[in-house]
């Protein structure tokens, strides 16, 4: 049994909160820069240039890339041979508290969805735990802005709707979202599972590098098909027209019930932040 202290977890989360919000990951930079090269519409080219200028300024000055520094979505894979001294969830929330305070990040969480009073420290984090083999803890931190989160949808399709039903729902969701989620966007798609698991898959799809492909060739191909269809919509960066509506489509799947074909679409913006660290 390996011992890991809660202090170490708090310190790691704090550092990751600041890093994720100020430094765009390399996969996103690659996708944005490639899209800039491929973009033909002048307005769209100009916006992509500004987006690149913005993340360079943010990184240089350790300033948040976007003022919506998000809900702190944290995915923790805990090795079953790890023992944690103390309260893990509290240690994570303390890391978020310190990171959002010391990193001058915006506190965007309200304590009750209807009463709407700000907790003023961006806690609680949105945490998922998974038990895995080994004696390590893997933490993925993905601050999630809500301009794009609000454009996300889920639908319980019929098995007979098949892949066409999936494609139609994803493309329709992006078209309805239009200019609202700050295109160019990253589209996380969950297919299968139950209602709740499907939404989780869509969120998890956004953690995968934007320039990666689903390991199953059929789904890698479906990712390409969806990206092509989405970029034929013409919405473009910021909705002002252009080729670059989406930078990437990531699909995650799991088994489902004989009666169902759940599909969830979690939309993220061009500031798709995700950092991973193994303790």
């Amino acid at each position: 049994m390996r011992e890991i202290s809660t202090n170490r977890i708090t310190e790691t989360i704090k550092r990751l909160c600041i890093e994720a919000n100020c430094k765009l990951p390399i996969d996103m930079k690659t996708c944005i820069e490639k899209s800039r090269e491929a973009e033909t519409f002048p307005t769209a080219q100009g916006i992509l240039d500004k987006i690149i200028e913005n993340y360079n300024i943010a990184e240089k000055e350790t300033k948040p890339i976007c003022q919506d520094t998000g809900a702190a979505c944290i995915f923790v894979n805990i090795g079953q041979d790890v023992h944690i001294n103390g309260n893990l969830t509290e240690a994570i929330n303390e890391g978020v508290r310190q990171g959002y305070r010391d990193g001058f990040l915006r506190k965007s969480i309200v304590s009750d969805p209807l009463e709407r009073v700000n907790t003023n420290d961006n806690t609680p984090a949105m945490i998922y735990y998974d038990i895995v083999e080994g004696d390590k803890i893997e933490i993925t931190l993905a601050p999630k802005g809500f301009g794009s989160e609000n454009m996300s949808r889920i639908k319980m399709l019929k098995p007979s709707d098949g892949v066409k039903g999936v494609i139609d729902f994803v493309v329709e969701t992006v078209e309805k979202a239009g200019s609202n989620p700050c295109p160019p966007i990253v589209v996380g798609v969950g297919i299968g599972g139950t209602f709740d698991k499907c939404a989780y898959l869509a969120k998890k799809a956004l953690l995968r590098d934007a320039d990666s492909a689903n390991p199953i060739p059929y789904y890698a191909e479906l990712e390409d098909t969806l990206l092509t269809k989405i970029n034929a919509l013409g919405i473009g960066p910021q909705g002002f027209g252009g080729k670059t509506t989406a930078l990437a489509v990531n699909i995650e799947t799991m088994p489902t019930h004989i009666a169902g074909l759940p599909v969830a679409v979690n939309i993220n913006c061009h500031v798709t932040r995700h950092v991973k660290e193994v303790i």
Binding site: T40, N54, P181, G234, G241, C269
Partner: protein
């Protein structure tokens, strides 16, 4: 070519702006997003006095990050505007002439913009670090308890925006997309 505009946005300036125009705004504007709009709306409904003068005002839908020492403001890009749709027509009726945000607006908002004369500008969403460079001064003028959602008075210099919806109801989200799709047709 960018059009330089001095705020406040008076009616003559409103009428001259057309959807698709790139502008650089200088002068004073106010911040406001969900919570502040709700409070202003309730005061209007009750017929009470508002904490800021709405006549010819421009509101920037933004909730900035906290500033560091030596900065005027933290990151400050636009938030999605449709959440203000329920409140904007009342403010426009009181003389608000400019709104800055991102994303679509409702038919009711556009109707009020046409009836009273107002412009909806888009700033680039997700570019808060870059946009903050154009904000020279920031102070809270109302609802300090709302933190980032308080109403701040901003002094801006050459703040870059695009006219998305003009006072005649022309909408760049429609025309821009159409223009791009048409440009594809010409290539073929």
């Amino acid at each position: 070519m960018e059009i330089k505009i001095e705020l406040p946005l008076t009616q003559d300036k409103v009428k001259a702006l057309k959807a698709g125009d790139s502008c650089l705004l200088s002068g004073v504007m106010f911040t406001g997003r969900d919570a502040a709009h709700k409070r202003l709306f309730e005061l209007i409904k009750e017929g009470k006095e508002l904490p800021v003068n709405i006549k010819n005002s421009t509101f920037y839908f933004v909730g900035p990050t906290p500033k560091r020492e030596g900065e005027a403001i933290g990151s400050a890009g636009p938030t999605t505007s449709y959440r203000m749709d329920a409140y904007s027509p009342s403010l426009i009726a009181l003389g608000q002439t400019g709104m800055i945000g991102k994303g679509t607006r409702s038919d009711e908002v556009i109707k009020a913009m046409k009836a009273y004369g107002a412009v909806y500008f888009g700033a680039i969403g997700g570019c808060g670090a870059l946009l903050s460079k154009c904000i020279k001064k920031c102070e809270v003028v109302a609802y300090e308890d709302l933190g980032t959602e308080a109403i701040h008075r901003l002094e801006v210099e050459d703040f870059p925006v695009v006219v998305v919806i003009d006072s005649e109801g022309n909408n760049l989200y429609k025309t821009g997309r159409e223009a791009y799709l048409e440009s594809l047709g010409e290539e073929k």
